[in-house]
């Protein structure tokens, strides 16, 4: 019986491990970043409001992340402009308009689409997509916000579809039957009944897609052109918070100010994705309670 008690302890500990890992990640990244907050050369106001990112300048080191934050949000926003209609449309088609055989096939395709590694997406952006963009737009360079957004959209769509479909499936069939009894067409049913009924779940699907897009690293590193400035149009190159860490992390001597500022942007990223995921979770839970 001691053996079993011990085993239960191990199981309990494993259960708590998820909390430990999340805490460990946050605290570790935060601890590495912490000393820079009290450093004289660093100012929190500059960190959030300046677009000047000169981490290795000889004369005047500046750590302004505003351009990086703007880059992250603009490319995410544009990606969502593509991915949300596609993803929700796909989810509606899957759950309301197609037969079970086609549904199974489509779901497998979507699952495979979700499995494509981000570095392959980045490679596609760097090679294929950039040539297409140069050919059909006036952009001087093919690696830019539009390129990154298309790639991110394709990466986020599978998440939005699968969570969105779950949300639509969760709407009780009685709603559909009532609607049909009143003579509504499928489209009217979707538009007037299902969308309002499943709106929380669909919102959660979109939020999880946003989380994916904000956190994506390799694809945006390779596809967005990596230029520090506030974008003026969708054909401008941008740099995101994630790509910036990936490009500069190895360089910064351990314990240097630059190293710590990069960890601080890591904390910022962690916080953003944490809030987005928390939001999605609360929204989903709101659905369950009903």
């Amino acid at each position: 019986m001691i053996g079993e008690k011990l085993l239960e302890l191990v199981i309990r500990f494993s259960g708590i491990s998820a909390i430990l890992f999340v805490l460990a990640i946050f605290l570790f990244v935060f601890r590495e970043a912490l000393p820079v907050l009290t450093s004289e050369k660093f100012s929190v106001i500059q960190f959030f409001t300046s677009i000047e990112w000169y981490p290795t300048s000889v004369n005047n080191v500046r750590y302004g992340t505003l351009a990086l934050i703007a880059g992250t949000f603009s490319v995410t926003l544009l990606a969502m402009a593509f991915a949300v209609p596609l993803g929700l449309g796909g989810a509606i088609f899957l759950s309301e308009f197609c037969g079970p055989k086609l549904r199974e096939t489509l779901k497998i395709v979507i699952e495979l689409l979700a499995a494509i590694p981000s570095v392959v997406w980045g490679f596609i952006g760097l090679t294929v997509m950039s040539r297409i963009i140069v050919k059909y737009t006036s952009a001087p360079v093919g690696v830019n916000m539009l390129n990154g957004a298309i790639i991110l959209a394709l990466m986020a769509v599978p998440i939005i579809v699968s969570i969105g479909e779950d949300a639509l499936k969760a709407v009780p069939d009685a709603y559909r039957e009532a609607g049909q009894a009143l003579g509504a067409t499928k489209w009217q049913l979707v538009y007037r009944v299902l969308l309002p009924a499943a709106k929380n779940g669909l919102l959660a699907a979109v939020l999880l897609g946003v989380g994916r897009a904000v956190g994506e690293t390799m694809a945006v590193l390779m596809a967005t052109g990596h230029a520090v400035h506030i974008p003026h149009g969708i054909l401008d190159s941008i740099r995101t918070l994630t790509a910036n860490i990936a490009a500069e992390l190895g360089e910064a001597p351990v314990g240097s100010e630059h190293y710590r500022v990069l960890f601080l942007t890591g904390v910022l990223l962690f916080t953003i994705t944490f809030l987005v995921n928390l939001g999605a979770d609360l929204v989903i839970r709101g659905v369950r309670r009903k």
Partner: protein, 304 residues
């Protein structure tokens, strides 16, 4: 529970798992089989990563017992890792800084020692369709420096065919790159780059991007040229004749932005690391430098 304890707990948990895992995976007969074997960790400059890879590949035929692990990341990455004592040889396409020597001494108690393994001319690339052939260092600086005056090709008296907007697309490198620092020191005189340039993560990426963009200009090692780009002749001062980046102009120092490719180790090299560096500096190693598109140490060989 304070901050430290929690993070330590995480590490302890991970450690336990590793301890369970480790013995199973490094079989003892395998260790015996590799007696006299050594692993050399080699990290740093992206400019040098290809030649470093070619050395490692060839050295395998010289001494199969020695494993060389090559990684890129940038000269700064390599030197940072050397300071930390996590690697054996750092590749750098720039010279080590005084503060880095001090840090290395403080951290490891040993002084970094450098070897020049070859030379590289930092070439300035434009698209093949660009009519420009020559540029002065001053013009180059005005294009790339913070608040520089040159932003359009027309200011250089150049008309790019079939292009409506002739704004210069600046292609640069990420700040960990030795190439970036070398360019900043030699061309911008330690002033900062204008933000908004496309900062590529690899030397090849720079050349590829320039090859696909008519209005782009970028800098990268001379070994990376491809059919979509051309290298500009560089004039030290406006009016002076431009010098093309070649092995000859690099060695006789007439090309203004040539640099040495350095290997840094901690203290005097010993054992396998010493053998490896000696081999790199020997004829066999130097031939590989030339084959990779760089300039070997000996002038005679490069004269061809």
């Amino acid at each position: 529970m304070n901050l430290n304890q929690v993070s330590r707990m995480g590490v302890v948990a991970a450690l336990t798992v590793c301890a369970l895992l480790y013995p199973g995976c490094s079989g003892s007969n395998r260790d015996a089989e590799r007696a006299g074997a050594a692993t050399i960790q080699n990290k740093g400059s992206d400019t040098m990563v290809n030649v470093a890879q070619a050395w490692a590949e060839e050295y395998r035929t010289v001494n199969p017992k020695v494993d060389v692990e090559v990684s890129g990341g940038g000269s700064g990455v390599g030197i940072a890792a050397l300071i930390r004592g996590t690697i054996d040889i750092a590749n750098a396409s720039r010279d080590i800084k005084d503060e880095e020597i001090q840090q290395a001494k403080a951290n490891t108690g040993k002084e970094p020692k450098g070897f020049v393994a070859g030379y590289d001319a930092l070439a300035v690339y434009v698209n093949r369709t660009n009519p420009l052939d020559e540029i002065s260092l001053e013009q180059l600086a005005e294009i790339f420096v913070e608040d520089g005056r040159i932003t359009k090709w027309s200011q250089l008296g150049v008309r790019i065919p079939d292009v409506r907007d002739d704004t210069i697309v600046r292609v640069s490198r990420q700040s960990s790159s030795g190439t970036y620092e070398f360019f900043r020191e030699k061309v911008l005189h330690k002033k900062d780059f204008e933000l908004g340039s496309r900062d590529m993560n690899g030397s090849k990426e720079v050349v590829e991007l320039v090859g696909n963009a008519r209005t782009a200009i970028g800098y990268s090692g001379m070994g990376y040229a491809n059919s979509g780009v051309k290298m500009l002749r560089i004039a030290e001062k406006p009016g002076q004749p431009g010098v093309p980046p070649t092995a000859e102009t690099t060695l006789n120092k007439t090309y203004p932005i040539a640099r040495s490719l350095n290997l840094y180790v901690l203290g005097d090299p010993k054992g396998a690391v010493k053998d490896y560096i000696d081999w790199i500096l020997s004829n066999a190693g130097q031939q590989i430098v030339e084959a990779s598109g760089y300039v070997p140490l000996s002038a005679k060989k490069s004269a061809r």
